[in-house]
Amino acid sequence: MQKYFANRKQSLELKAIGFNEPCCAIFRDDNFKFPVKVHNDPNGLTNSFQELSCDVTAPLKSQVFDFFREEHRLNVEILTNFGDVTNNTFRGTIKNMDKMFKDYTNHKYITGATYEEAESNLIDKLIEIIKKQIPHKNEKISRDFY
C-alpha cells in the first residue's frame, strides 16, 4: 500500500510548509508504519499528535494534491497516456486555479515511467513551488506587521 503515500522526505517537507491534515500512516525511524491507534479513528493522526514517537505522519498522495488545491490553489492534472506504456509516458501539469496563464514548468510536462512516479515527481515540484513562495510570504507578513 506504500505506493499510495508520499515518501519520507516529501512528508517532512510537507510538514515544514504547513501540511497538518489527519493521516493514517507514519514514518518512524525511517520505516513506514501503520500505527495501531489509527484503526478505530477514521480521522487519522496529525503531525501535532504527540503520543506517537514518530518522525512525521505520512500523507496519501491524493491528500497531498488536495492540500495544494485547497491551500495553495494549485491543481494537478495527470493526463491520459492512451495506453502507451513506453518510458515516461505518464505526464502531468500544475495549473494555478486563479491565474490562467501562470506556468510553473516552462511549458513542459512533469513525467514518470509509471503513474506513481509521475505523481511523486509532481509532488516534488509542488513542494518546490511553495518553498520558493514562502520567503515572499514571510517578507510580506513582516512588512505588514511593522
Binding site: 501503520f34 491543481n75 492534472e77 492512451f82 486555479m97 490562467m100 503513474y115
Partner: protein, 126 residues
C-alpha cells in the same frame, strides 16, 4: 479522510466487478468507515465491505480496463479563476471521453465520484 475513500455503494459495486486486493478502509456498516491496514476481502465475512481508496480505483480501471480519467479545473475566461471541475474518461474505443461535457462539479471529490460511478456503469455493461 473519508472523502479519500469510495463510498459504501461504490465499494460494494467495485467488489462485484472484481476489485480485489488490499485496502486501507473497511465499512462496518453503510455509514461506518474504519481505517485498517492491508485488509483483503477474504479476511472478512458478513456485513462488512472493503473501502478502497479512490486512487486505488482509478489504478484498477487504468490497469484492468485501460480506462483513464482526467479531472480538470474549469476557469472563467475573463476572470481566470476556477469555477468548478469537469472530468473526462478515456476508454480504448474513446466512446465516453465527453460523457460529462458541459457538467460542472462544485468540488473535486464530486467530480471524482461522478467518474467512479460512470466507469462502474461502463464496466458493468461490458
Amino acid at each position: 479522510m473519508k472523502n479519500l475513500f469510495c463510498y459504501f455503494k461504490q465499494s460494494l459495486e467495485l467488489k462485484e466487478i472484481g476489485l480485489e486486493g488490499e485496502c486501507l478502509g473497511l465499512y462496518l456498516s453503510d455509514s461506518t468507515l474504519s481505517i485498517v491496514q492491508n485488509i483483503s476481502h477474504n479476511q472478512f465475512y458478513g456485513q462488512v465491505c472493503q473501502a478502497p481508496l479512490k486512487a486505488q480505483v482509478f489504478e484498477f480501471f487504468r490497469e484492468k480496463y485501460g480506462c483513464d480519467v482526467e479531472i480538470k479545473a474549469k476557469r472563467v475566461i475573463r476572470v481566470g479563476k476556477a469555477e468548478g471541475y469537469y472530468c473526462m474518461i478515456f476508454t480504448p474505443n474513446e466512446e465516453f471521453f465527453n460523457w460529462d461535457l458541459g457538467r460542472l462539479h462544485s468540488t473535486y471529490e464530486e467530480a471524482e465520484n461522478a467518474c467512479i460511478d460512470k466507469i462502474i456503469e461502463i464496466v458493468k455493461t461490458k
